[in-house]
Symmetry: C2
Subunit: 310 residues, 2 copies
């Protein structure tokens, strides 16, 4: 059974790891967000691709959720000593990947190709694709003006109110090679429990990806990133409030309007099932917090239960 | 008393450090070799400037002679894991400097400006200048063909015989801002005990630098890099044999023909003083191995003794 997953960083990576504990990873294609990619000291950093790479290869710092285990920060310390900017700190092991990727990109290799190469090197069995090889950047419109995603998220600690999220470059971005094929071949398409506004929508902003998903809506299941109206981590709940007018399952469902056939909710949100069903989307209730092996397996099996038999 | 020094990496840095133990570093300008600069994974590396920066700031690994003290190699380990090239290994602390420099160069800042900025950040009191802001690269012609300097030196372990050394880009390279002024203002110009072929001549290959030095030949003293016909470190002796036909003081003197007024020789080479004098160059004999504080001071005072009184 072939499965395609749309995923952002930490939540997406943990979901994919849980998924591959149950299904053959060789049947899984992950289409990852690149909207929060950035250049740091001339290095191309792809935070979500990297979190996926590190989490799925076992190289990641599991407690922190991102970055490498056993990381050191000596390059960053030197940058600081030399008066350089360090608002986006890069670990030394992490820099090794950024150097390899940046050099390849500068030499004209597409992001998808260098990602595939790196994924093979660290032993990944899933197929990991960036949503696009083209430049697509999430911008946050706030009362203080339009900010680059990482400027808003990291440098300013996502304290500015979000009036709108836009995806620069999306209009002309083409899906990375293999992405449409994976979506068309998948018996199941999963939208991981990532932040819809800054992790999933930048993927959906690639027109042909959105169209491919719309066409297969009955095979698409999203996992809500909210539990009892709260994000496990990060600013998703505040963004739901300011951008969708609430943090209920209704708002999550509306967020993926026309794109999903089912929505997995946490037990804490069981009261909201009617709001989901009323929108023509099948509600499924389980534990969505991936806190222990049993909970992870229950979530994955709920998601997999969506696949029409045969 | 203003002093200008032409210097390569390890030997040059140690000499300048010894010099600044005796004279006020604010009166010293070092004009450094950039012929062995290279790009590694998209980073601009200036090995000789960096050795000078590290040695003179106290950040360097004194035993090794190059690189940072307390260095770690985690980025490099990742690059290796990802199948990248690691023949020129970069330390993590070192990478911090390369990132700052490479970003500045890409933004259009000249090498001399970013070098000055970095030198200030690490507390250097001397003026440190690259010979040129233009691209100048030392190439080694060998039976195996023409090799980039670092390819010959590091990757191939300087095992290929050297038929000729050429300085690509030298014809059009202009001195870095301040270099000519420093040479003109100096009461003493010192050629450090660096490898003449690959450390000093790339500097002299910048036409206006050579002309400025020729014009002040009586103020120029070179310290021989050979002791008893042997290099303290590196391939200088082998290069003298293949390129100059011998490793005596005569060959060292000829190497700087028309450029120096005096040559400092080690006591081991005292028998060669006549060869030097016969070439119109004043021989000075002392201990040139900078092994202990007394020896270093003796060398520096011998060099300083060259300055005409008044």
């Amino acid at each position: 059974m072939k499965i395609a997953v749309l995923a952002g960083g930490v939540g997406g990576a943990r979901f994919v790891r849980a998924l591959t504990e149950v299904v053959d990873p060789r049947n899984v294609t992950v289409i990852a967000n690149v909207g929060d990619d950035l250049e740091v000291h001339g290095l191309h950093v792809s935070p979500d691709l990297d979190t996926l790479l590190y989490t799925l290869s076992g190289l990641g710092d599991d407690e922190r959720g991102w970055g490498r285990e056993g990381e050191t920060w000596n390059a960053s310390e030197t940058i600081e000593l030399l008066g350089g900017e360090t608002w986006f700190r890069l670990g030394d092991r992490d820099i090794g990947l950024h150097l390899v990727r940046s050099e390849a990109l500068r030499a004209g290799e597409p992001l998808s190709a260098v990602t595939a190469r790196v994924a093979r090197s660290v032993g990944l069995e899933i197929t990991l694709l960036p949503a696009t090889d083209d430049r697509l950047r999430t911008k946050i419109r706030t009362p203080a003006g339009e900010l680059d995603f990482q400027d808003w998220f990291v440098a300013r600690g996502h304290r500015d109110q979000v009036n709108e999220v836009v995806y620069e470059g999306a209009r002309t971005a083409r899906p990375a090679p293999g992405a449409l094929e994976a979506l068309q071949a998948a018996e199941l398409i999963v939208v991981a429990p990532s932040n819809p506004f800054v992790s999933i929508r930048p993927i959906l902003a690639v027109r042909d990806i959105r169209t491919a998903i719309e066409a297969r809506r009955d095979r698409v299941v999203a996992v809500s990133p909210l539990i009892g109206g709260r994000a496990v981590k990060g600013p998703a709940d505040a963004m739901f409030t300011s951008l969708a007018g609430g943090t209920g399952a209704a708002q999550v469902t509306d967020c993926y309007k026309g794109l999903i056939g089912a929505l997995v909710l946490d037990e804490a949100d069981a009261d909201d099932v009617d709001d989901v069903a009323a929108r023509g989307v099948q509600p499924l209730v389980t534990t969505t917090l991936m806190s222990d092996p049993d909970a992870r397996r229950a979530l994955v099996e709920t998601v997999l239960g969506l696949v029409p038999a045969g």
